[in-house]
């Protein structure tokens, strides 16, 4: 695609801008910021990736993956601010998910150990885990607040913190995984995944694109389960003290 063609695609930005202005939605400024940011960020990352792919230096691969994990962690921590030590819990979870994924892919020789594969797949894995972690923390903190009396009841009857928080934890894990599972049920029927479409547009055979997409879907399913469960089991003990009492969260609830 030439830069001229790319410029013409800005028509797709003009449409929401006109709609926003006409209907007084007040989204013009945010739309413009989003457009400019996406152009700058994607072009920048395009050149960075070009450089990393050309050099094939593992240090640059490591730095790229680290940047992804740090950015995702900082994004997720805002949603779990009420949980003590949430930053390192999210970071450990994302690092574990990345190591597990790349360990399986590279260990079994499913993908080659090149920057092209490692960085692309890491982006999908970490990005997906980030969304999962946000969904999980949103639901978990609201479950803990809404069912505080139930937690206190179970503790008062001689239950352990794990027993007291079990229902809230499983509910949050299930809720965060449902969108992933549901979207996978209709994949190929309702929507064609972006990565697969991209490969087909770039000239790859549809069957090959599907094979690779299946790999990514299975990865994402594992990531969803591991991210929610690991973050859940790292988070719940910080809600209690050593006398098995409920601690107040940072926002006082």
């Amino acid at each position: 695609m030439t830069y001229l063609s790319l410029s013409i695609t800005l028509i797709f930005v003009l449409i929401p801008l006109v709609l926003s202005k006409t209907l007084k939605l007040g989204l013009e400024k945010d739309t413009m910021i989003a457009t400019v940011r996406s152009i700058v960020q994607l072009l920048a990352i395009g050149y960075v990736l070009q450089f990393v792919f050309d050099t094939e230096n593992y240090l640059f691969i490591f730095l790229m993956v680290t940047l992804m994990i740090v950015t995702a962690t900082l994004n997720v921590r805002k949603k779990g601010a009420a949980i003590r030590g949430i930053t390192w819990k999210v970071a450990v979870t994302l690092i574990f998910v990345e190591l597990l994924t790349q360990g399986i892919l590279l260990g079994f020789g499913i993908t080659p150990p090149t920057a092209q594969y490692i960085i692309s797949i890491s982006g999908m894995v970490i990005g997906n885990s980030m969304v999962l972690a946000i969904l999980f923390l949103n639901r978990f903190t609201s479950e803990v607040e809404a069912r505080g009396e139930e937690t206190e009841l179970i503790l008062s009857l001689g239950g352990t913190p794990k027993q007291a928080i079990h229902n809230q934890l499983t509910q949050a894990i299930k809720a965060s995984m449902i969108p992933t599972i549901e979207s996978q049920k209709t994949v190929g029927l309702v929507q064609l995944p972006g990565m697969m479409s991209g490969q087909i547009i770039a000239g790859a055979s549809p069957v090959q694109a599907v094979q690779f997409q299946l790999l990514i879907l299975f990865l994402i399913l594992t990531n969803a389960a591991v991210t929610s469960v690991m973050l859940g089991y790292l988070s719940y003990p910080t809600l209690f003290n050593e006398r098995m009492q409920v601690l107040k969260t940072k926002n006082g609830k």
Binding site: I154, L157, G158, T160, R243
Partner: protein
């Protein structure tokens, strides 16, 4: 007041605060073993906090609590909570049926409660056994409170803490519960601490009473003291109750 009785619970200069708010101020006193002691006083006096300290849901800031002559901190939390049962004011339920709620104390220990045992417990608190498989969301406030009491009894705790358990019950149900509590106390020698706003109930059912105001214990003695209190603040409180 308790010189003739062994204390089941003893408070020694107990203080408890939340942020800068002093909930309990230097509370000292004993609750005699095998007797019913009522806790009365206006809202915000620190009565519910005192019960949660005894059950280990909260810990003191300073001072000591002794449960059957042993410092509360020497108990494992789980052991303490099975020894000192509490029926919470809001009668919280876990989602599910009455049977699931009655089974909860046992299932937390990896044990099971038979339907026959659960039915007996229900009848003890004046509910029909046919209700056993009814969802707790369909219960009235009074029925929830009765289920809550029955559930607390499953662990057969030697000390029972009752936080306004009859506040949402009608007169007949209140009378049923009062009789039940007295029956349990006499039959098993269970030590009871009962928070109530009903002064007549405190006099009729309680052996002893503590009057608390603004985090302090202002008067203690046999329940009859509520008829002729010595402390002026208590006199005003009792008078206000009758108005």
């Amino acid at each position: 007041m308790n010189e003739h009785y062994k204390p089941a619970i003893h408070f020694h200069q107990v203080q408890y605060s939340v942020e800068n708010l002093h909930i309990l101020k230097n509370v000292t006193g004993s609750f005699p073993e095998g007797r019913i002691t009522t806790l009365v006083g206006p809202s915000g006096a620190g009565k519910s906090t005192l019960l949660k300290l005894c059950n280990g849901l909260l810990s003191v800031d300073s001072g000591d609590i002794f449960i059957q002559d042993k410092n509360i901190n020497e108990y494992e939390p789980v052991e303490l909570r099975r020894k000192v049962g509490i029926a919470l004011q809001s009668a919280p339920m876990v989602r599910g049926t009455i049977f699931q709620n009655l089974s909860l104390p046992m299932s937390l220990q990896g044990k099971t409660l038979s339907e026959a045992e659960a039915a007996d417990l229900l009848e003890d608190v004046g509910l029909k056994k046919e209700l056993l498989h009814r969802n707790t969301q369909d219960l009235s406030g009074g029925q929830r409170q009765k289920v809550s009491i029955a559930r607390t009894l499953v662990n057969r705790p030697p000390i029972l803490l009752l936080d306004e358990i009859t506040s949402s019950l009608d007169r007949t149900s209140t009378q049923d519960i009062e009789e039940l509590i007295v029956k349990i106390n006499r039959k098993y020698g269970t030590t009871m601490i009962w928070i109530t706003h009903n002064l007549k109930q405190a006099i009729d059912v309680g052996d002893y009473t503590w009057v608390m105001m603004e985090g302090e214990v202002v008067e203690t003695g046999e329940s009859e003291l509520l008829k002729t209190p010595e402390n002026e603040r208590v006199q005003r409180f009792v008078k206000g109750e009758g108005e």
